[in-house]
Each structure stands twice: as C-alpha cells, then as structure tokens.
C-alpha cells in the first residue's frame, strides 16, 4: 500500500524536515527513503527525519535510516532523527542502537538546532 507512509517535506532555512506519518515497514521503506533523499538538495546542510507521527516502524525502517545516514554523510550533510521517548519507534531505535549512526532527538526544533550547531 503506497500510502501506508506519508512524507511531508518542509524547508527550514538550509535544513530539510521530512515528516513521516503512518506506518513504515518493508513495503514502503525503500520508496520512503528515496523520497526523503530526493527532497534533500546538495545545498542543504542536513535533514531531519521526524518520526514523532509514525505509528510503527520495523527493521526495514531502521535499514532505511542507516542507508539515509550513509548517504547524507557522503554528501557531508547531517541526519537527525526525531523520535520521542516512550513511543514504539524510539524503542526500536534504542534496541538497534541507532544512536551510533545518527543523533536522535525528542522534537523537531531540537533536531534542527542540532544541525544548525555543527558538532565536532
């Protein structure tokens, strides 16, 4: 079902915010990752993937995030994931220790700020 996950793209200065809603599983993981990647111009400093509106994500979603992290990394861009604690998505991210690949924040503002203030 192609509309299982919806992607809304928002531009905040030179940061792209991709807001995901719905559920993310293997049926949509690849296309969702591609949509986000295509929405990020090379001029952007980074991308925030907002998963606070996502009701479900499995390991295919995690793979998509890892892939996305590699891709933006190769463009010298940053990836920050928004996943509020206690939600199913953050639980999955914790288990697979996604924090090692990219920072996870509680909300979009924190994420955008994280990109705006480049880490060492």
């Amino acid at each position: 079902m192609s509309d299982l996950t919806q992607v809304e793209i928002e531009q905040r200065d030179d940061v792209v915010v991709a807001r995901l809603t719905g559920e993310l599983d293997i049926s949509v993981a690849e296309s969702t990752g591609r949509k986000i990647a295509e929405a990020v111009p090379s001029s952007a400093r980074g991308v925030v993937v907002d998963m606070s509106g996502l009701d479900f994500m499995d390991s295919s979603g995690v793979s998509m995030l890892f892939g996305l992290a590699r891709r933006v990394g190769s463009h010298r861009q940053q990836l920050v994931v928004v996943a509020p604690t206690g939600r199913p998505v953050s639980r999955v991210l914790e288990i697979v220790e996604f924090g090692r690949a990219a920072p996870v924040r509680e909300d979009v503002d924190a994420a955008v700020t994280a990109i705006a203030t480049p880490q060492a």
């Binding site: 079902m1 509309d3 299982l4 919806q6 809603t21 719905g22 559920e23 599983d25 293997i26 049926s27 949509v28 509106g53 009701d55 479900f56 994500m57 499995d58 390991s59 295919s60 995690v62 793979s63 890892f66 199913p88 639980r91 999955v92 914790e94 288990i95 697979v96």
Partner: protein, 817 residues
C-alpha cells in the same frame, strides 16, 4: 242432469216441440172451424190453442237458452193442455193421435228411461181423461187405449232403432269431441249463420267467465265483443260464411271483454265449417295477454341488451384506450412500458400479435417490444405508417398501425395483427388514435429518463468501491440498490477506507442533487474524503473540509448528508461524525441502538459549521450498520416509524454481514423497488478468539493487515499499549522474514498462528521457504529486535519451511533495554 248425453242440441228439441204445439193448436182450431158436435165447446178449446201457440212461440224465441228440464216441463204442460182439450172436445180420436206423436217424439229425442217416464205420465193423464169421459169403459178397453199408443211408440221407435243407434254413436263421438274441446287450452266457439253461439267449451268458460249455459244461444257481441268490434265482426262472419270453398280459415287479432268488463287481447282463428248441410263458423280464441307481455318483455330485453352492448362497446373503446395509456404511464423503465403496452394492445384489440417499433434519431425503426415476445409483426407496414403519420388499416384490415408522436416527431409505431378472417374495424382505429397521443409522450419521456438514468447510474456505480478491502478482524459488506427506474438516480454513496494503524474509515453519504449533477458531486466528495482521511485528519476536520468543498464549489442549494466513522478494532472503539444523516446503528449482544448525539447540519448548509467526533465502544462481536434514508423513509410516514422498522428488522436478521443486508433489503424495500436509492454498509467487528490462525500472501502488503489483526487480538488478550506495540513489531520482523524467504515465488503464502496460554502470548510464523543468511545486517537487526522484544525466540528451519516461534509473558514491565 248433464247436457252432454243429450242427442240433440236443446234448441232443436225446443223448436221441434214448438212445431208440435203449433201443429196441435192448429189442428184443434181446424177441428173447430169445421162443423162439429155440440158437446165440443169452442171457447175453452180456443183458449187452449192460444196457450199452445204461446208456448210454441216462447219455445221458439227462447230456443237458444233452454235447458232439457225446460223441455220436459213444456212436454208436461203440453200433456195437460191436450188432456184439457180432450175433455172439452169430448171423446175423440185426437188424444191417441197426439199421444202417439208425443211418444214418438220422446223416444226419438230422449234416452229410453226419460222417454218411458214421459210416456207413463202421458198414459196416466190419458187414463184420467178416459176415466172421466168414459166412466163405463171396461178395464181392458182402458188398457188398450192407454197401452196401444205406448206400445206403438216403442215399436216405432225400435223400428227407428238404427237411427237411434247411429245417433248414439254420433253422440259418443260428439262427446269425445266435446271432451277434446273442453280440455283444449284455447276457447272454442261455434256460431251459426246468425251469430248465435252454438258451442262454448270449458276454456271459453274460463277465458270469458260465462258458463256454457249462459253463452250458448247468445251472440258474441252480447258477451265478449267490444262495441267497436261488433260491426266488423258481423261483416267478417258473413264474408267467411259466404266465401267459396269448403274450408276457409283466417286468423286475426281482436280485443275481447271478460264477464267482469276487463278487456284483453286475443287471437282468433276462424274457420268456415259445413256440416250436414249447415254452414257455421268455428273459432279458436287464444288469450294473448301473456304472450304479448312476454313478447314485450323480450323486446324490452333485446332493446336493453342492445343498449348495453352499445354502452359496453363505448366503454371498451374508452377502457381500452385507458388501459393503453395506463400501460404507458405505469412508472417503470422503458422496457417495462413497451412490454406492457404491446400486451395491452393485444388484449384490448383482441389481436393475435402486437409490436411496437421505436424510431431512432434518424427515423429508422427497430423493434421495441413484441407480444408474443420475439414475434414482430408488420415491419414494412410500420415504415409506411411512420411515413404517412396516420393511423391506418392494411392487408384486408388484418393489420392496424398507429404512429406515436411526441413533439411532432414519430417516436414509435404501434402495429397489431389479426389472423384472417378476423379483422380490425373503425373502432380499433378510433381507440388507437385516442391512445396514441398520450402513449407517445409517455414513451418519449421514458426514453429521455432512461438515457439519463443509465448514464447517471453508470457514473455513480463507478464511484462506489468495486470491492471492499479485506480488513483483519473486521468484515464489511455493502449494498447499493438504485431506485425504481422512474426516479432519477440518487446521490447515495459509501466507501470503506483503511487508515494507518489498523483503523478503518466508513463513509455513508447522500447528495441531495440527483441525476448527473448529483453523481458528479459524489465523485468529488469521495476522492476528497479519501485524501483527507489518509492524511490522518481527525474525523471532525475531515468533514469540515468536505463542507467547505461543497459550500464553495457546488452549485447553489446543493447539499449532502453524510456519516464518517472511524473504527479502531484494536481499541474496540468507533468514533463518528454525523452531518445530518440518519444515525448509524450499532448491534451489540442482540440489541440494536442508534449512535445518537452530536448530529450536525448537512454539508453545504453553513459556511463554517463545526463537526465534532463522538466516540463509543465497539466490542468484538459488535456490528455497525450505515444506511441512507431510502431504506427508512416512506412517503407519508414519520421517519421514526421507519427507524423502528429498521431496528426490528435488524433484530431478526442473520448474524453475518451479507445475510444481514439481504435480510434488510428483503424486509424493508418494497417488492416493486425502492422509491429512493438505498445504500447499505455494515461492519462486523469479529469476535477475537483465544487462538487464531491466518494465512497471508507472501508479499509486503500483507504486513499492515497482520499488524492490525495482531493489535486487535493482543488487546483482547489483555496486552497493554506498549506490549501490543512491541509484540507487533517482533511479529512483523518474523513476517518480513517469511516474505523474504518466499522470494519471487508466485502465489507463495505463509501462516501466522497465535495463542494465549495463561499469561503468555505465543505466536508462530511459518513459511514454506528456506532460511537465508543474506542481508545479514537486516536479519541481524530483525533477530535482535525479536529477541529483545520477546521472552524467547526460536527459529526452526525445517524441510517444509521455516518456523519462527515467539513467546512473551504479559505484565513483564520494562523489557530488555
């Protein structure tokens, strides 16, 4: 004494005696005229002769009315006169002569016994005379004097016995004749030349009220003829009697009078009869009162029948015309109208076949309907009728055809045919002409309706879901029943929209505009609603947006009612927004209740109304029913009544979606079809079993339904939200593996099985592929997730496929972190 045995008519007897008296008196006077002895006294004898003459004259005059006893009395009186005459004339030979004559007369005219009595009386009188006049006469001389005439009378009579015998035969024959005549139903009367009645039978007595005794000897004009007929009667009788030929008969109608003065019509058959040299008239008279009455009745009846036949004929023409018009106006589809019409035409015209040809825009004719079905009649004739634009007959009146016009165009031609020798007449032509105008219009209208109806229905059907989605744990069914053909297609629509998270949106709406405009608005609302719903908007906002769409974009006064329900089977809830639509029905544990509350205005009424969601429980085993007003609204009835009928029908319905809807349509929709469109949508929140087993296609699209099913089942099994999320994630990983194992195999499937064992959840996913080690990262992550989220995970890669078994005890807080 009966007259029947009488040998002769009493008049004959009376007149004979009158002759006898006259002759006797004349003889006596002649005796006086000649020189005679002194002892013969003149004066008494002249007086006696005068008396005899008087009696004779009286007899003659009254001959017609005398009876036998009168004759006997006269004979006795005659004897007395003779005796006295003898006394005054002194001993003479006169007495024996008269005595002998009288004896002869008696024996001849009367039966033996009466004649003997007469003779005894005469002999006694003679003996008395002799005793007075011849006192010294010896007894022997007496006896001789008295006996001799008597014996002579008997002897002479015996000599005349042949005559007597013949007369008796005649008398007997006459008796039979009289019997016949008297038992005859008709009056039989004979008249002599003078018009005196000589025969008067029993029927005549009954008919006229005069007895035979009273009638015989009198004339018809005295008794039974009205004065105005009298003259004619006499003329006729004389003409008849004077006519040549032995037997002349004529019959004529007369008016007659009864004894009581009442007149009545009769028919007389009069014949001239000659018998024994005598000519007389005989007539049979029939009382024709009854016959005339019957005849009048029959004539009246015939007139009435004729009048009724005429009235029926007129009524038939009018009724026939009405039947044709009714057939055309009966609101059904064109096909129905035409089929009915040809059947009616056949019936009304008593035709053997009837066909209606429809003209297309180019004027070409094609068969619209035939009766008997499939047997078109008079195709070439129909073309001719269409060209001439006139009702007409053809083929020796065996074909009749009439063009049906609408707006001066021939829209159809109606043709009927009869098997020769039967044929149609002017009436049939009149009838068809009368009916044609209105029938033509009805058909033209029906064709326009039909065309628009068909387009709109096609369009609307295209807007309804072809098939409803498979929803785990839920079962949905829908029905859409267009209104009977004369109504325009309504703007009813429904939809079932799966929403992320296993929820499902149910839509039931009714756009007020019908026909093409309504159908196109349905299309816009439907796609808009799908879009808004999938965007994850709250139900109230979705409906508010639809209202905005309708308010800004629809034509003036277009509005819609609608229901939008979001069913979340995992949470066992239903949330709904009602925009002026009949309330949805929820069926729970055998009870049906409406989901009331927060019903707002229909869409398109206000620019900015607020629509709020209302929530209610929808437990496993409960069901929802959405419908349009076509199901519950009946003309002239309050909506509440329709809603009551609906709840009653729901209570008696089968406990499955298809059965429920079929039952409702059968119970609530009239057999002739609904007046308005009816749309029905039901959702059954299936009961959650302790244990489940389901099979899915090995494709990524199966994952979302599996999750929906699991969430629902887990909720029912007592898992909290976090547990549901984690177990669902773990199982999703197992299912994803199963799908990957199937690879690109077509039609591969895998099973998911679940069971709650006390406080522990046990789920197994079994596929038919082989465990693969590729994409180690992903699998590793998947396995990690499963192992972390569940208590135990075991992978069993067997010959028949791989089984992943997952277990987790509920109520385990925290989990591995």
């Amino acid at each position: 004494m009966s007259d029947l045995p009488g040998l002769f008519d009493v008049r004959v007897k009376a007149r004979s005696i009158a002759y006898l008296f006259a002759v006797g008196a004349t003889l006596g006077l002649l005796t006086l005229a000649f020189p005679h002895a002194d002892e013969i006294r003149d004066v008494p004898l002249i007086v006696l002769a005068g008396m005899a003459y008087a009696i004779a004259a009286t007899l003659w005059a009254l001959a017609d009315r005398l009876r036998d006893w009168h004759i006997h009395a006269v004979l006795a009186a005659g004897t007395v006169i003779i005796s006295l005459a003898n006394y005054y004339a002194g001993p003479s030979t006169l007495y024996p002569i008269l005595y002998t004559w009288t004896a002869l007369y008696s024996f001849y005219f009367f039966p033996m016994r009466e004649a003997l009595a007469q003779m005894v009386f005469l002999a006694f009188a003679y003996a008395v005379v002799l005793a007075i006049q011849e006192a010294d006469m010896v007894v022997v001389d007496w006896l001789l004097a008295v006996g001799t005439p008597a014996v002579a009378g008997i002897l002479i009579t015996r000599l005349l016995g042949g005559i007597q015998h013949h007369a008796r035969e005649l008398r007997e024959s006459d008796e039979r004749t009289r019997l016949v005549l008297d038992t005859a139903p008709d009056a039989f009367i004979t008249l002599d030349r003078h018009g005196c009645i000589t025969t008067w039978n029993a029927a005549a007595e009954r008919m006229f009220g005069w007895t035979k005794e009273e009638a015989v000897g009198r004339t018809m004009r005295e008794l039974i003829l009205p004065p105005e007929y009298a003259e004619r009667h006499d003329t006729r009788r004389l003409e008849l009697l004077d006519s040549l030929g032995q037997l002349a008969t004529e019959t004529y109608e007369v008016e007659l009078i009864r004894r009581d003065g009442r007149r009545f019509p009769g028919e007389a058959t009069v014949s001239k009869v000659e018998s024994g040299g005598e000519v007389f008239a005989s007539g049979f008279i029939t009382d024709t009162t009854e016959r005339l009455r019957r005849q009048a009745e029959r004539e009246a009846l015939l007139r009435e029948q004729a009048a009724r036949a005429e009235a029926e004929r007129v009524a038939e023409v009018v009724g026939g015309m009405q039947a044709l018009v009714d057939a055309a106006l009966a609101h059904r589809n064109l096909e129905g109208i035409l089929r009915d019409l040809v059947a009616q035409v056949r019936g009304v015209l008593a035709a053997d076949a009837a066909t209606i040809y429809l003209a297309d825009d180019g004027g070409r004719l094609s068969v619209g309907a035939s009766s008997p079905a499939g047997q078109a009649v008079g195709e070439e004739f129909a073309i001719w009728v269409a060209e001439s634009r006139e009702a007409m007959l053809a083929q020796s009146d065996a074909l009749i055809g009439v063009p049906l016009l609408a707006e001066d165009e021939v829209t159809a031609v109606l043709v009927a045919g009869a098997e020769p020798p039967r044929e149609f007449g002017g009436e049939a032509l009149t009838l068809l002409r009368l009916a044609a105008e209105r029938v033509g219009l009805a058909i033209a209208h029906a064709r326009v309706y039909e065309r628009e109806h068909r387009i709109a229905e096609t369009l609307q059907r295209s807007l309804l879901p072809d098939r409803l989605p498979d929803l785990p744990g839920l079962e949905v069914a829908a029905r859409y029943l267009p209104a009977a053909a004369e109504a325009e297609v309504g703007g009813d629509w429904y939809d079932v929209i799966p929403i992320a998270g296993g929820a499902v949106g149910l839509v039931m709406g009714d756009v007020a505009g019908k026909g093409l405009a309504g159908a196109s608005m349905v299309g816009r609302l439907r796609s808009a609603l799908r879009a808004y719903a999938l965007e994850g908007h709250d139900g109230g906002r979705v409906v508010e947006r639809l209202n905005r769409l309708l308010w800004t974009e629809a034509e003036e006064s277009q509005m819609a009612t609608m229901l939008y329900l979001i069913v979340d089977p995992a949470a066992s809830t239903v949330r709904w927004v009602n925009a002026g639509h009949p309330p949805p029905l929820v069926m729970s544990r055998g009870e049906a209740r409406f989901l009331e509350g927060q019903a707002s205005v229909p869409l398109g009424v206000l620019p900015f109304p607020t629509y709020e969601e209302v929530a209610a429980r929808l437990e496993p085993g409960d069901a929802l029913l959405l419908y349009t007003d076509g199901l519950v609204e009946r003309p002239g009835e309050h909506l509440d009544h329709g809603l009551e009928l609906l709840t009653a029908a729901v209570r008696g319905a089968p406990d499955n979606p298809q059965g429920l809807l079929d039952h409702l349509l059968a119970t609530l929709v009239p057999a002739r079809g609904a007046a308005d469109d009816v749309a029905l949508l039901t959702l059954f929140n299936l009961p959650v079993p302790e244990e489940f087993s389901a099979e899915f296609p090995a494709e990524p699209e199966s994952l979302a339904p599996i999750r929906s099913m699991l969430r629902r089942w887990l909720a029912h099994a007592g898992a909290d939200d976090l547990e549901i999320a984690e177990i669902t994630t773990a199982c999703g990983e197992a299912a994803t593996n199963a799908i990957e194992h199937a690879g690109t195999m077509n039609g591969a499937r895998f099973e998911v099985w679940g069971q709650r064992e006390g406080g522990e959840i046990h789920i197994a996913v079994h596929d038919h592929g082989s465990w693969r080690r590729e994409r180690e990262d992903d699998h590793g992550r998947g396995l990690d997730l499963m192992r972390t989220l569940m208590d135990t995970v075991s992978v069993d890669p067997g010959e028949q496929g791989t089984t992943v078994s997952l277990r987790r005890r509920l109520g385990r807080r925290g989990g591995a972190a």
